[in-house]
């Protein structure tokens, strides 16, 4: 029987198999950040164990960083001490740190692919659930807990049971105004937030083949929101072209050799999956969520469904929405365009394209938070910052920002925020804040109108 893409990459990293027990999986790249690493560093220091491969570990500061005035000392004492600890830990252990203010600094899942740290066929882990983003390159990438961070520090390996395999195929052509974010929100709305539990998911079919790397990252990023351990897409010319020439990408002949190997990373025709789903691209519309989990999504012009389930009702009560209502024309005061789901250059191009020559509605606070310094640089080089300024959007400095409201960027209680991030849980963007997940295009249109509108009508 043939092998799946997942099998090929996973099996290539198995150091050993413990009879009736877990496998030892070798980790090519370990990404760390300020929030989930300190206890792991402490665990090793206590036992006098050195970091096995500091050269395969890369650190950034992102979760807790301010997105304004990054040149000034950090006000919040907790963030400041976490960043200081990260700096100290990295220095002590010879780990490369792209800290606050560094030209490579950014959200870990944005900066690593940009720098060519993320490559096809790799195994990549990070103490953060959205590590699944890197699967867009045909790598095995997943989030780990702090005790596993310590395992990787100590051995560059993890003890794991091999997950099951799932494939989601989407064929056909996407309608105008339907972005990668809509595709993944649609899939999660169809399958629910538990469908992926225990699985690694491969995305296949024309829609993903025709998608840019940025779009593929958006899709793989949200794999975790349907419960999957990770998501991945077979590497192809789009992938190779993206990786080529990046700072840490292989160069010259080495690159060609790698490409020859990467080309073998495709699911064999006779390979079998434990679970398969098929969708038709033409069925997908621009999506929004109306509830408090990412599976509660509808097409923007659809009505909220009826359900008797108490947790469904509780969710609608939190959002102050009613079953059967349309969300069109709901007034919105906050728009957040950012996070590791949608803060790459392509996302800002979409926004700039839409808002060019328009003005944001006066009631709206429109925050644009790029995923990295590199993205900021590109925004400036392409002159998008001027467009944003003229339209009245606020372009801030890179970081996780209002995605998790750990820093100062919080949505006030009771306010709706149309957000390009990945989680609409109660309180995720601030206590009592109400999150509506959407694509950068829907978010941009909301900022201009001051309310939710059917953006497809404008495009046609």
């Amino acid at each position: 029987m043939g092998k799946t893409l997942f099998d090929k990459v996973w099996d290539a990293h198995v150091v050993d198999e413990i009879p009736n027990g877990p496998q030892i999986l070798y980790i090519d790249k370990h990404l760390i950040h300020e929030v989930t690493s300190p206890q792991a560093f402490a665990a090793l220091a206590e036992r006098n164990i050195p970091i096995a491969r500091p050269d395969k570990t890369v650190a950034t500061a992102d979760h807790n960083t301010p997105t304004l005035n990054q040149h000034l000392p950090i006000q919040d004492p907790l963030s400041r001490s976490q960043l200081e600890q990260l700096t100290e830990n990295c220095k002590k252990n010879n780990i490369t740190l792209y800290g606050l203010g560094h030209k490579y600094n950014g959200i870990v899942h944005v900066m690593a692919p940009e720098l060519g740290i993320t490559q096809p066929g790799m195994s990549i882990v990070c103490g953060d659930s959205h590590t699944s983003t890197h699967g867009a390159f045909g790598s095995i990438a997943f989030g780990i807990g702090t005790s596993q961070v310590a395992q990787v520090f100590a051995s560059q390996c993890l003890l794991l049971e091999k997950p099951k395999k799932m494939r989601i195929t989407v064929n056909g052509t996407l309608k105008k105004g339907v972005l990668p974010k809509d595709v993944i929100l649609y899939i999660i709305a169809q399958l629910g937030t538990n469908a992926g539990t225990g699985y690694f998911c491969e995305y296949a079919g024309e829609v993903f083949e025709n998608m840019s790397m940025e779009g593929r990252m958006t899709v793989c990023n949200m794999s975790i929101e349907m419960g999957a351990r990770g998501g991945m897409i077979a590497p192809d010319e789009t992938t190779f072209n993206y990786v080529k020439g990046r700072k840490f990408a292989p160069k010259g002949e080495e690159f060609d050799q790698k490409v020859a190997y990467w080309k073998t990373l495709r699911t064999d025709d006779d390979a079998e999956f434990d679970q398969e789903y098929h969708f038709d691209a033409s069925e997908i519309s621009p999506m929004i969520t109306y509830g408090t989990n990412p599976g509660m999504g509808i097409a923007i012009n659809e009505k909220i469904p009826h359900q008797e389930d108490p947790s469904f009702k509780k969710s609608l009560a939190y959002m102050d929405f009613k079953a059967g209502d349309s969300l069109l024309n709901t007034p919105i005061n906050y728009v957040f365009i950012g996070s590791c789901t949608n803060a790459r250059i392509e996302d800002f191009r979409v926004v700039a394209d839409y808002v060019k020559g328009k003005q944001k509605a006066s009631n709206v606070h429109a925050w644009l938070v790029p995923g990295s310094r590199e993205v900021v640089k590109q925004i400036e080089e392409e002159g998008l910052n001027k467009i944003f300024n003229e339209a009245g959007f606020q372009l801030r400095q890179p970081g996780c920002s209002a995605c998790l409201a750990m820093n100062d960027d919080k949505i006030p209680e009771g306010e709706y925020c149309v957000s390009t991030s990945n989680r609409n849980f109660e309180g995720r963007q601030g206590q009592g804040a109400r999150t509506i997940l959407a694509s950068p295009l829907v978010a941009a249109a909301t900022a201009i109108e001051g309310k939710l509108i059917d953006v497809t009508k404008q495009l046609n």
Binding site: G21, P22, Y26, S155, C157
Partner: protein, 192 residues
């Protein structure tokens, strides 16, 4: 972690069923940030009366019964998944808990902390509890390699996850285990 090969000791009988992790370590003791000191509060609300005086009726306070083996009733360690329960028992210290059934997460937590949960048949457990209660000097021997538990009432074998068995026999946790594979890992790295 300490190695566990064979172990012989007397035991403390605590034949109550469904002992949950809240009884093992009450929630108010969970605020500590490291793993030390939990042993002092294991079964806190059974060991002490409301006025903090010692509850002499509780078996842990009865000098007749001694040892680092705890024999407990069916479904030990149910309830909240707090790892603190394993830390508290291991810290007391117990090395072995015998029951006819353990809650899943507790079992994993115990094994990760060098505490061996041994599942025996309900009949064996009943006999064992009776024997130890009547004859407190009864000595029990656990042979991990052979996976047997023996005492005056007979011998019974028990199951254990093969990987965890290796860990306990060698005194490893996951980190130690991975470090023990260093050469193999390095050879793998070299082949990349």
């Amino acid at each position: 972690m300490q190695k566990f090969t064979t172990f012989t000791d007397t035991a403390i009988p605590l034949g109550i069923e469904n002992i949950d992790t809240d009884q093992i370590i009450p929630a108010r003791f969970l605020k500590a940030t490291d793993r030390k000191g939990f042993g002092d509060n294991v079964f806190r609300d059974w060991r002490y009366n409301k006025d903090n005086s010692i509850n002499h009726d509780f078996v842990l306070n009865n000098d007749t019964y001694q040892g680092e083996i705890l024999i407990a009733g069916h479904n030990f360690g149910c309830g909240s998944s707090r790892e603190h329960a394993a830390w508290a028992l291991a810290g007391y210290p117990f090395k072995v808990i015998i029951s006819s059934f353990f809650a899943d997460i507790f079992k994993g937590n115990a094994l990760n902390n060098g505490l061996l949960p041994i599942e025996v048949s309900p009949t064996f457990l009943k006999k064992l509890l009776h024997e130890v209660t009547e004859k407190p000097k009864t000595s029990i021997t656990i042979n991990l390699e052979k996976q047997t538990i023996s005492c005056s009432i007979g011998v019974e074998s028990f199951e254990i996850d093969p990987y965890k068995k290796v860990c306990l026999l060698n005194g490893y946790d996951d980190i130690d285990f991975l470090i023990s594979k260093k050469e193999q890992i390095e050879a793998f790295e070299a082949s990349l």
